[in-house]
Amino acid sequence: MNVLKASRTRTCVLLLVTNCCLLFARTPSQGSPRVNQDSLIIKDFENRVADYVKLHKKVQAEAPAPKRTDSAAKIKEAQVTAAPKIRTARPEAKQGDIFTPEISRLFRRLIATPLKGPDGPQIRASLRHAEPVDGIHLRVNAPYPEGVPLQSTPPSLLLNLPPLPPELEYRIVGRALVLRDVGANVIVDFIPGAIPSA
């Protein structure tokens, strides 16, 4: 009887341990859909960026920018020629085409994470010291205003965002994150209020 009791106890303990093991083993797999979801969203962003770069390259092929030149006029000409062609090639482009609501949500989270961390005050100080640009009415397909400085993007934020091909860059305007076509100086898309207020 005692043996049976002991055996039952052992079984109960074994079952308990097994359940615990199963429970802990399940924990990572419960987290992975979240990770996979983020990866899918980033993949979606990369695809949208790749589509834009394809369009950019097509436009550039029609009016190639000089590789290097003594003539500032030629550099400017390449920029002002490319910009309207890009606008023509995507006439219906609007805010959210690349930064979809889902992608915007992820980006906001990616930006907020370092800002909430121990280096947050330093990053905010860098933002303040980089001659913040504000008061620009952002419009997709519009040129980034001539003569307005390009606010530096704090490296800790940049390192937390998906990398971009050289044709594009992230810029901060006020609290918005702007996706800018470097060669054509065109605002490709933006996320309003991407930088959380302090």
Partner: protein, 351 residues
């Protein structure tokens, strides 16, 4: 009692009046002085002068570089591209010194073209002011500032090779030119690889945003500092030049690295410096540029104002502890004496 207070006040005023010319770099002003006046003025910052000084009569150049054979000589300008008269006046001083010093390149610390990038901007803010230098074959190596369109990288006279960040070598010096407006992971990886594989005796980095600064308007970029200084220290960077803050600053060496801020070759933010423990020298009352001569393990520099006044000069020893190659350290450190170190960093020069 009232008499005592009155006399004490008078005495303190007299003391203040007698000390105003030598009370420190931040109070000295070269603005409005003519070259004749400046040759007689009290130097506003610590300056070695001494045996290398070639200061002569009125109108002559006050040269503090040794002009040794086979040395690397260059000029430094920052935040220059305003197109204003003051930029042209600095450019004229640069040409006058070039004829004597024979520097053959200029490094640009960003904000090369303010207010737009139309062809006329390039003409008025770069090609015309520096025409005598360009005609003499002087090369300009630009870095990008926040007021610069990154398309400037395509402009041949800026010698950027079509890239936002790049490196070039002159004699035993390699220059690493960074784009601090956009320090992404790609650029950081590139920098680490370049620094790691460089076997130059001197490694000089320059870019727009300062890692250390006592400027009131911007101050240091702490986020950038956190990422860059470990690389600089690990791979033996010796000197860092920055702009952005429209003043001149020489920072006390930080972990063996000399930091300079020179963002007033065109722009100026007058009286914008607040003195702190980290400042070795500062100048915030006029525009300026810098001359640098590197020979062996010594870097001579002279900072010259728009009016031709030498506002700072010194000779800096390449700091052995920043060198990652022991072989190079041994080769270039053996002739340094303790006495030289005392001359280079006199205690009284420390704020």
């Amino acid at each position: 009692m009232h008499h005592r207070i009155f006399f004490a006040l008078i005495a303190s005023w007299l003391l203040l009046l007698s000390g105003v010319q030598t009370s420190g770099p931040l109070q000295a002003s070269a603005a409005g002085t003519t070259p004749t006046q400046t040759s007689q003025a009290t130097s506003p910052v610590s300056s070695t002068g001494g045996s290398n000084s070639k200061q002569t009569a009125q109108g002559k150049l006050d040269l503090k570089l040794p002009l040794e054979a086979k040395s690397v000589r260059f000029a430094v300008i920052g935040d220059s591209g305003t197109g204003n008269n003051e930029q042209y006046e600095v450019a004229r001083q640069m040409e006058a010194y070039r004829e004597r010093v024979g520097f053959d390149f200029v490094i640009m610390l960003g904000d090369n073209i303010y207010g737009g990038d139309r062809p006329k901007d390039f003409a008025r803010k770069f090609e015309l002011p520096y025409k005598p230098l360009l005609d003499a074959g002087v090369k300009f190596y630009a870095s990008l500032g926040n007021h610069d369109n990154p398309n400037q990288r395509l402009y041949s006279p800026f010698n950027m090779g079509g890239k936002r960040y790049y490196s070039f070598k002159k004699g035993n010096v390699t220059f690493f030119v960074l784009d601090s407006t956009y320090m992404n992971s790609e650029q950081l990886s590139w920098l680490e690889k370049e620094l790691q594989t460089s076997n130059s005796v001197w490694k000089i980095c320059y870019f727009h945003h300062p890692l250390y600064s006592d400027g009131k308007f911007h101050g240091p970029d702490l986020d950038l500092r956190k990422l860059l200084t470990p690389l600089f220290e690990k791979y033996g960077v010796n000197v860092v030049f920055n702009g952005h803050e429209h003043v001149y600053e020489r920072i006390k060496p930080e972990n063996g690295i000399y930091y300079f801020v020179l963002g007033n070759s065109g722009e100026l933010r007058s009286h914008n410096l607040r003195r702190s423990q980290q400042m070795q020298a500062g100048f915030d009352s006029d525009r300026d540029f810098m001359l640098v001569e590197i020979t062996g393990d010594k870097l001579y520099f002279q900072t010259i104002s728009r009016t031709g006044q030498t506002i700072d000069s010194d000779v800096l020893q390449r700091q052995a502890k920043t060198v990652n190659a022991g072989k190079i350290r041994d080769e270039f450190s053996k002739d340094i004496t303790a006495e030289e170190h005392l001359i280079l960093w006199p205690a009284e020069a420390m704020p």
